[in-house]
Symmetry: C2
Subunit: 213 residues, 2 copies
DNA sequence: ATATACAAACCGACTAGTCGGTCAAAAAGC
DNA sequence: GCTTTTTGACCGACTAGTCGGTTTGTATAT
């Protein structure tokens, strides 16, 4: 439906335009004048909908992290073992990725420019997200699915890094889909951390494609 | 020797100060006036040593990527098998990390603000770096050390992502050293991609700590 | 009448970059 | 060896322009 574009409110147009421009040129590479020009509105329209340019940046951050957090929690709750939970969380991120592509770039590259109180708010949600993954890793170590020698912290950051970094190189309409990429990531991550016991669980097979013996 | 600090040239002081400030507040969060103020020099001193603020940003980028590239090439050349090469390359990055910590943050967060011709220059070197890793992965697949089913591209980006992301969470003087982190990374990555044959090679044992059977 | 949703002109603060000038040290002339 | 000349590193007041944000005005809906 192309009608969606015509129905957009001014606020939606501003957000949409800002996302495009921020992703291309960075937060400080785009002026409010340029945003309102491209979004076909005015300074008045902008400041009627947003308290400040900083507030717009914050909103972009918040929309993204809040959505990731919500989806990750659902993924975690709807599965009962660490292997399923971990893979479901990665898939949740994948699904977010295609739609929130622009948000992600802004989120990771421009967060230095957030005002202190905004930044604290975002940081809290990022920490919450990290702890969700740490929790699953820790659980997996205790249940014997993941090797007990691995460091929860390093493993978590390795996974987050691997997954998040895709925003730097992934292109929609490229040769690789996020679905494919996640398939490979799940395989590689699990091989890196599961125990023999974990590997032999029936639900692990769907993620680890083959085992060369 | 603390005398090093007293011997710094104006240009070195500017670079040093800019790195500190850019890392903390981002490129556009710092004015030239602030840089020259902290670096105990002047506008004249600044523009005598740098063509523009953009040129300073470029120099920071170039110093970093050129060094990484050089070290990676050495790591690659001084080993003869893919497993040793890959791990040596990761260690090379590790060693760079402690010294070029500030460069890395600027490199990954502020590259959007590089002027087009500067950006093209940097992009070329990043591509060269990526191809070095892709080459090793590809070689490993052909030699039977790495599983042939893995995607060279995705695996390479997974590794780069995992490693690069450390700049977002690693703190010097923290509980974890870069040495330790790289040890875990090497272990996790190799487990994710080696074949049984590769695993049984004697030189693989030093990276893969243990195998739970 | 009053509130809402925008438009357009406007403002002051700030910024990157310039430019005439200083000064110490090296090079040249004697 | 001593003076003169030249060079280049560096200074800081200044400028032209840009930016985020404000204010005033206006059309519409209730």
């Amino acid at each position: 439906m192309e009608g969606q574009k015509l129905k957009q409110t001014v606020k939606e147009r501003i957000l949409d335009t800002a996302l495009d421009l921020f992703q291309q040129k960075g937060y400080h590479g785009v002026s409010v004048d340029e945003i309102v020009d491209v979004a076909k509105t005015s300074k008045g329209g902008f400041y009627h909908n947003f308290k400040s340019k900083d507030a717009l940046l914050y909103e972009i951050h918040d929309i993204f992290i809040s959505h990731v957090l919500a989806e990750t929690k659902i993924a975690c709750k709807t599965h009962s073992n660490p292997i399923d939970q971990l893979c479901a969380m990665l898939y949740a991120f994948t699904n977010v990725f295609d739609v929130y592509n622009r948000h992600i770039t802004v989120f990771y590259d421009e967060s230095a420019y957030l005002q202190p109180d905004y930044k604290a708010n975002i940081k809290q949600k990022r920490t919450e997200y990290r702890r969700l993954i740490e929790g699953v890793i820790e659980e997996g170590k205790q249940s014997g699915h993941f090797r007990s020698e691995i460091s929860t912290r390093i493993t978590t950051m390795a996974i987050i890094g691997m997954v998040n970094w895709t925003y730097k190189w992934y292109w929609r309409n490229g040769e690789l889909s996020m679905e494919q990429i996640t398939l490979y990531f799940n395989d590689m991550i699990l091989r890196g951390i599961v125990t023999e016991q974990g590997f032999n669980e029936s639900f692990a097979k769907q993620y680890i494609q083959s085992k060369v013996v």
